[in-house]
């Protein structure tokens, strides 16, 4: 199994979710994060004090998939999340050694 972690633009979440469920992936976990990268942030002004806000709101989607489905999932995410504009985000793939479904105790691919 692999963990696919995608950092995407917040308003793309719905499309990414749809793309993944279309592949038959039935679970994922999502976190609100702040991203720093080439896409530059903005300046906020409070009583004349300017603060550079360099971190931008992003969404982190984590989905663990059977190794066989990694490529299709990567492609689906990329297609759904892409606007072509800077700041679209990254996808990282890392190994998962073991998975358990808490409710049943099932493990590995069966637990996904």
């Amino acid at each position: 199994m692999k963990l696919i972690t995608a950092i995407i633009k917040p308003f793309k979440l719905e499309e990414v979710r749809a793309a993944l469920t279309d592949l038959g992936l039935q679970g994922m976990t999502v976190t609100e994060v702040k991203g720093y990268g080439r896409q530059k942030g903005h300046t906020e002004i409070y009583r004349g004090a300017e603060y550079a806000v360099s971190f931008l709101p992003k969404i982190k989607v984590e989905v663990v998939v059977p190794s066989a489905q990694v490529d299709k999932a990567l492609e689906a995410i990329q297609r759904a999340a892409k606007t072509g504009q800077i700041g679209d985000g990254k996808i990282f793939v890392s190994p998962i050694e073991h998975t358990i479904r808490i409710r049943t105790g099932e493990s590995d691919d069966n637990a996904l």
């Binding site: 308003f11 719905e14 903005h42 300046t43 906020e44 002004i45 409070y46 806000v53």
Partner: protein, 436 residues
């Protein structure tokens, strides 16, 4: 027995029209009018209450309903509008609405009181200082355009918004206020509008509808979740609207007398009835009674009772509230969605529709013993048509003038923010601020 308040109401199309009634009915004014400290105390309070309705009331009611990234922009639009229109009212608005327009008196006032010229500390309006009357009316002129903000949130340019507000107050609000309260043609024709159902709510409601259509829908309308950020803010706002509206409606009696007591009673009952009506409708249709629904219902009730509050009895008020709750619910949910315009926070669905319901039912329930004029139920079949005629005149003028102003802005400075700004959110894009 003191029929002070009632008498005044009985002879005027609306309380505010007392200005003109005074000269029109010299026989009543045997005594030189003198300042009454009780009436003045209540009108000072009423003025403060209408300000409470606007900022923070209306600002929070609307602010809580948008997404997090746009909350501050809604508050800013309301606050800046309120400030700008205060100054404009002083410059020319008061004069345009409430002075004699000479040859054009049927349609608009003159400039004789621009910059409050001639209004001295000693000038009276009935039993209160004229300055106080002018500031009380100021609060009406400032909140009415601000109501329109709800239709254009999340996407209108701040600069265009401010210019629109200024133009709209001068070209739409001031004339219509003059028609009804300044001795214009609707007053002469006998339209009943105690505290501004037509002048304020139908007027703003129609403008909101026109504005949201010209501006176009928000990005993501119908596809993304545009769920409100924080209904707690909306609830605070709705409650302050309820509270402050007593200044609006009861203050329109211009005196702390029996007329005020009538307006307070009818306002409280209609509002509660409408809140329940919307809540139960929704419970029936969607299976759940929402807080946003109750709050929306309350506002719909406040809107609908506004023209009627000094003319109907408590039972009439309850019926008006129930009708407003159900009908505004239907418009703001089903019908809006069916038609597909994005009146984002239901300015038309609540203020326009609620205003129409109230204006027409005022003609039905007006009762001689409660406000001095008979309605349909007391056999006066003429009043409902007169009310409808008042609505149509207002709708026509509001729609046309709003469209003209917005098209001019659209083809000059533009009225909509860039797509990128809309995605980023107006708080950061336009105001350089954000909620953390």
């Amino acid at each position: 027995m003191n029929f002070n308040g009632l008498k005044r109401l009985a002879v005027t199309a609306s309380a505010a029209a007392a200005l003109y009634a005074g000269s029109a009915l010299p026989s009543l004014a045997q005594d030189t009018p003198t300042l009454n400290s009780g009436d003045t105390a209540w009108m000072l309070t009423s003025t403060v209450l209408v300000i409470l309705m606007t900022v923070p009331g209306l600002a929070l009611f609307y602010g809580g309903m948008v997404r997090k990234k746009n909350v501050l922009s809604v508050l800013a639009a309301t606050f800046a509008t309120f400030s700008l229109l205060t100054i404009l009212w002083f410059l020319v608005g008061y004069s345009l609405a409430f002075t004699d327009g000479g040859a054009n008196q049927a349609y608009i006032g003159g400039l004789s009181k621009a910059l409050f010229a001639g209004v001295t500390p000693a000038s009276l309006q009935g039993t209160i200082p004229e300055l106080l009357f002018a500031v009380f009316q100021l609060t009406f002129a400032a909140i009415t355009p601000a109501l329109i903000i709800g239709a254009v949130v999340d996407r209108m340019k701040f600069s265009a918004l401010l210019i629109f507000m200024a133009a709209w107050m001068l070209l739409v609000y001031c004339p219509v206020a003059h028609w009804v309260w300044g001795g214009g043609f609707l007053a002469s024709d006998g339209v009943l509008d105690f505290a501004g159902g037509t002048v304020v709510h139908i007027n703003a409601g129609i403008a909101g509808l026109v504005a949201c259509i010209i501006l176009g829908r928000r990005q993501g309308y119908g596809t993304e979740s545009l769920a409100p950020y924080n209904i707690v803010y909306t609830l605070i706002g709705a409650s302050l609207l309820w509270v402050g509206w007593f200044g609006f409606n009861v203050g329109s009696a211009l005196a702390a007398g029996t007329g005020a007591a009538v307006a307070m009673t009818t306002t409280q009952l209609a509002t509660a009835a409408a809140a329940l009506a919307w809540m139960f409708s929704e419970w029936l249709v969607h299976g759940k009674p929402t807080l946003l629904g109750m709050a929306s219902g309350a506002v719909a009730g406040l809107v609908a009772i506004t023209p009627a509050c000094g003319f109907v009895d408590p039972k009439g008020a309850v019926v008006i509230g129930l009708a407003a709750g159900v009908i505004c619910y239907i418009f703001s949910t089903g019908i809006k969605r069916a038609l597909g315009y994005d009146d984002s926070l239901d300015v038309f669905g609540v203020h326009g529709v609620g205003g129409l319901v109230g204006a027409i039912l005022t003609g039905v329930f007006a009762a001689e013993a409660w406000g001095g004029k008979a309605g349909l139920l007391e056999g006066n079949f003429a009043q409902v048509p007169i009310q409808i005629y008042g609505c149509l005149a207002t709708i026509a003028w509001s729609a046309i003038a709003t469209a003209v102003i917005l098209f001019i802005l659209k083809f000059t400075i533009g009225i909509r923010v860039s797509e990128a700004a809309e995605v980023e959110g107006l708080d950061v894009a336009l105001h350089g601020e954000s909620i953390q």
